[in-house]
Every structure is written in structure tokens, then in C-alpha cells.
């Protein structure tokens, strides 16, 4: 195997705001603006990939499945330092759930051939499932290392990566054979900003668009048709009923006593 790493970073284009509401009248999502951005969690993935390239040589390819406008996010990724980018865009992909997304992305990676490492974000800001990374890994039959807070070691000769993962009850150090899929936490690094040179490069970059006919993805397994799940209803969450009970008093000491009395009454202390 070559000693140069080939890394693919999966980055999703998401609405550039969390201020998304559901309009029950029109049954559509109301987005404060139409602007999109790279999924914030994927910036950590890009940074992790760039650092590995700086240490070990090789190339970093940014990949997005999304509408043709997502081209802009891929250019942002190139501006940050990615070598090139691929956009998976086709009417056939529309309506993909996490299974179909993972399948489409995995097919594209298989089509590229000779990839050593795929880096994903922990989760997408909108869909928010964290399922696509493990899904890609299984589609390719590669090992996965998820919730990575630190890359400890990468040994290209031994084809092995060692990472630290943050679990609920502790930190696990895990080694995996390459090629592998890694998903990173924001703990992992501090993403760099685009440089002027990067932006110029991004401006010139030609991002190819691949549909299923190019990657060889089975058209029946992508998009809505290929998605095992269906969203049947979207609605606004109901706010918690009930009123706050204010604790007021003249001095902090008296407030503290009042609060303590209330907590004692609730048998909390």
C-alpha cells in the first residue's frame, strides 16, 4: 500500500441557523434565512483530516451529498485547506434518510478506490443522529472509531490508527485497522479559518458532481425510495407547563436560606 494517505471528509451543508420553526399552517419548515453553511461539527472533522495530512502527507477530499448549491460549502472546505472536493447531487438522492445517505456516500468512496480514512463529524446540526458515520463504515465493511476526542497515533506502515474516545463512563483508547471510519468530537481540535490563498484556490477549484450513474449506487437504494424510514409528522414542541416560584429576600443569605428551605421541603437535601 502507498505511504501517502488518502482521506475523505464527509461534510454536510446545513441551514446556517438553529432558528428553525415549523409552520403548522403551511406544514413547512420556516428557516430564518436561506443561507447554508458547513455543518459546524464537520469543521472539526476537516481540521482532524488536515492535521493528519500535515503529519503524514497525502490528500484530503471533502465530500457532500446535497443540492447543487452545496457546492459553496465544498469550496469553503477547500478554502480551509482540503485538496479537492466531490459533490454528490442528483434528483435521485432527494429525500434520503441516514441509511440511504450512508449508502450513497459509501458508494462514492468505493468508486474513488484506495481511500485510507473517512472522517465524519459527530452529528449533523439539522438531522442530529450521528448515524451516518457508522452506516458508512458498515456499508464498506470497515472498522469504525466514533466519538473521538483525540487521535493518538497513526501508523501508515502498520496500517493502524489509535484514538481516544469519550464514553459516558470514561475514556477508551481504541486501535483500528485502516481503512477505517472516524467520527470526531469538538474536543478533538480547534478548526482553522480559511486563508486568502485557500480562498483563491477554492475560487478556481472545479468540483465534480457525481450521481448514482457515476458512483454505481443502485438507484433503488438511494433517495426516498431507498430510505427505510418515513417522516409522517413534524410539529413544534410544547413548552413545559407550570410557573417558576421566585425566591426573593433582602440579602443573599436570606435568599439562600429560603432556597434551602424549599429544597428541604422537596426532600432534596
Amino acid at each position: 500500500m502507498v505511504s501517502e494517505m488518502r482521506i475523505v471528509v464527509m461534510c454536510k451543508s446545513v441551514p446556517d441557523t438553529m432558528d428553525v420553526r415549523f409552520d403548522p399552517q403551511t406544514k413547512t419548515m420556516v428557516r430564518a434565512g436561506v443561507a447554508t453553511t458547513i455543518n459546524p461539527f464537520d469543521l472539526f472533522a476537516i481540521e482532524a483530516a488536515l492535521r493528519l495530512r500535515e503529519q503524514h502527507g497525502g490528500t484530503v477530499t471533502a465530500m457532500t451529498m446535497g443540492p447543487s448549491a452545496a457546492q459553496r460549502e465544498l469550496q469553503d472546505a477547500i478554502a480551509m485547506g482540503c485538496d479537492d472536493a466531490v459533490l454528490l447531487s442528483s434528483p435521485a438522492y432527494a429525500g434520503s434518510d441516514t441509511w440511504a445517505t450512508a449508502y450513497a456516500l459509501a458508494c462514492a468512496v468505493r468508486y474513488m478506490g484506495e481511500v485510507d480514512l473517512i472522517v465524519c463529524g459527530r452529528q449533523a446540526q439539522d438531522g442530529d443522529t450521528g448515524q451516518v458515520g457508522p452506516g458508512i463504515a458498515r456499508q464498506l465493511g470497515w472498522p469504525q472509531v466514533t466519538y473521538v476526542s483525540r487521535v493518538c497515533e497513526l501508523d501508515l506502515m502498520a496500517r493502524r490508527i489509535v484514538v481516544e474516545r469519550l464514553l459516558e463512563d470514561g475514556r477508551q483508547t481504541l486501535a483500528a485497522q485502516l481503512p477505517a471510519v472516524m467520527t470526531v468530537l469538538k474536543d478533538a481540535n480547534l478548526p482553522r479559518t480559511a486563508t486568502l490563498r485557500g480562498m483563491r484556490r477554492a475560487h478556481r477549484a472545479v468540483v465534480p458532481t457525481w450521481g448514482p450513474e457515476i458512483t454505481g449506487a443502485d438507484p433503488r437504494l438511494v433517495g426516498l425510495d431507498g430510505s427505510p424510514t418515513r417522516v409522517v409528522r413534524v410539529f413544534s414542541p410544547t413548552a413545559r407547563q407550570g410557573q417558576v416560584q421566585w425566591i426573593t429576600a433582602a440579602t443573599p443569605q436570606k435568599v439562600a436560606e429560603g432556597l434551602l428551605a424549599a429544597l428541604t421541603a422537596e426532600q432534596l437535601v
Binding site: 441509511w99 468505493r110 458498515r138 459516558e168 463512563d169 483508547t173 421566585w246 443573599p252 443569605q253 432556597l259
Partner: protein, 398 residues
Amino acid sequence: MARLKIDRELCIGCGACVDACLYGALALVDGLAVVNDLCVACSACLDVCPVVALSLPAAQDASLSADTASGVWVWIETQHGGAAEVSWEMLGKGRELADARRVELVACVLGSRCQDLALSAGRRGADRVLLVDDPALAAFQTDVYARVLLTLVTAQRPEIMLFGATTRGRDLAGSLAADLRTGLTADCTELSIDPENGCLVQTRPAYGGNIMATIVTPTRRPQMATVRPRVFEPAPVQGDRVPTIERVAMPPVGELATEVLAFVPSRSDENLGQARVIVAGGKGVGSAEGFALLAELAALLGGAVGASRAAVDAGWVSYAHQVGQTGRTVRPELYIACGISGAIQHRAGMSTSRVIVAINSDPTAPIFDIAHFGVVGDLFQIVPALSAALRQQLGDQQ
């Protein structure tokens, strides 16, 4: 039956596919490749076959048909050597779902020397406990666990499978759903059965809790979901119940591509999931030193320290303490939010706490919308005063 097709005319018996298979599903018999039931149709072998003798017919053929699938399964997760609380919560919810479907509730216990866990799962209402007890399962590894569960699922065909929305659960469910080509709904906060078609109706927050989405998996089985910790009530222990435990031999899992090198348990003050009391701080706490005040109060209350993302981003406290959409989901008896505004992403992780106390200098902060007790004031005065009052009360009791 394996979906992989092998053209015996084309096969030259080179064994390349046998080497490529991660699952030990291929072997050479009489100089030709044959596939067994361990095959998960991952297609890794297709690429290596020099003569294109292997093929995978459309995945639909392998679907676990909705008519034959039956039973609600819950994966019992181990944390800190015992069951993760969310496992018991899922058994509680799972009981309801199984009763609504009139099917059995099955607990899957995987691990090493985990007989006790299996007994507990039985006492918490599982009709049947599938126990795979093997040294190879001592440390959780997605790879191994997924293969074992896959074997069980393909043999027994459950209709519903629940996992905790924890790091391990999300990983495992994500892998399994990919292999089974079935739907997986993340982070569910409501689960019920549609009385008309018997489908699992799964509701979950999206966009950081700004909207709720209801999702179904109409045709594929099992219907899979990860379940937010601390949303459902844990199943009660029925002491007199005699659990039905079915020991299953460890299936061959072949060679592994991952290896656990070390595990360092988290410190107790990081242990948000188990904490009865959490004292959490946000941007208003202002510094790492500020967090020492919260730690002092937390220690007096026997609790843990939580934080908003703003405080974590500022570097005052480590990510392990973050509560919210991108941190931990917690449901302690008491949550004291100090200098936290209460953004929707923060509330997503703590709004189901039994009693919420908010201490904030801004009376219009949204945290007061969900707080049970509110104090408008300077946390640097209130928190030390509370610690002092508490110390005095504790002293009086002795």
C-alpha cells in the same frame, strides 16, 4: 439465508473472497467458494473477486418481512460494571409496546460474566433474556457486539429493537441498521404503537429541539430506535419474578479490526448520568475559578458539576461536563443552573430534571421558563451563601 450469490461456473477457488470476508462467512469447499449464514451482504468480497463470480441481488430480497417479525427487543448496556439506567427505562417502555402488540419482550445481554445482569433484566419484566456470556465480550466493541446481535436478529426476527441513545448504543444501532438495511430513528423521546397498522411510532427532537418529528419504518423489520436516557420511567423490579434466561453460544465472529487498548473510568464529578444532583454553570460563571464555587456546592450536595456549551467553549471546564444537545442528557433529582441563559440546545439536555433551580441576574432569561425555583441575583453571592447555609444545616444535623 445468505444473500450473496456465488456463480460456481465462474469461481476459480482462489480464496481471495475468503480472505476479504470480515465475518468468516466464506470458505473454500472442494475448491469452490461457499457462503454461510454469517454473511451480512457487506459486499467487501465483490471487489476482490478476480473473475466476478460473486454478486449481491437487490437488497429487498433479504428484508425481514413485516408479517413474520415478532417481539420487542431491548439491548441491555453495561456502564460502570452495571446496567446503564437507560436499559431499564427501555424495558419499562418496551413492556408497554410489547403488550400493545401482544408479543414478548426480550432483553439482550451481551458481556462477560454478566449472569447477574441477565437476572436483573428478567426481574425488570423481560419475558425472555437472551444471554451471550463470553470473555470476548468483556470490553464493548461495536464490531463484535454488532456481529453477535446480527446473528441473533437474523435467527429470531424481532419486530422492534431499542438501544440507549448513548455513545455505545448509537454506534451499535447505527451499525446494525446499516447491515439489516432497516430504519433507525435516533434519540426518541416518545414511542407508541399505531393501533391501525401496528407500526412503531417514533417521535424525536430535531434541529436542536426546535421541532419534533414523528418517524415510522413502514416495511422494513426490525424497526430500530435509539432512546434518550432519562425520558422514560425505569421498569420496576419484580422481586418474585423468575426470569427466563436463554443462554446462546458465542457465534464465531472472525477476525477483528479494532482492539481496545485502555479504558480509564471517568472521575465521579464527571459522572453526570448517574448524579442525583447537578450544579451547572454557564457563561455567567466567568472563569475556571468561578467553577470552583460550583464544585464546592456540588460536593456538599453529593452531586456532579455540569456546564453549558459556552462555559466549555471558554475552556473553564472540560467537555465531559457539557449538558445539552451536543453534550449529555441528564435527568437528576435536582438541577441548579447558575449563570445559564437556558438556550434551547441546553434545555434539550436537562429540561426533564425533577426540580430545576435557576440562579441568573437577568429575570428575562429563558431558563426561568422551565425552572421550578428562580433566584434573580448574582451567582457569586448566592452560590457561596447557599454553600454556607447548607454547611450549617449539615453541621446542625450532626
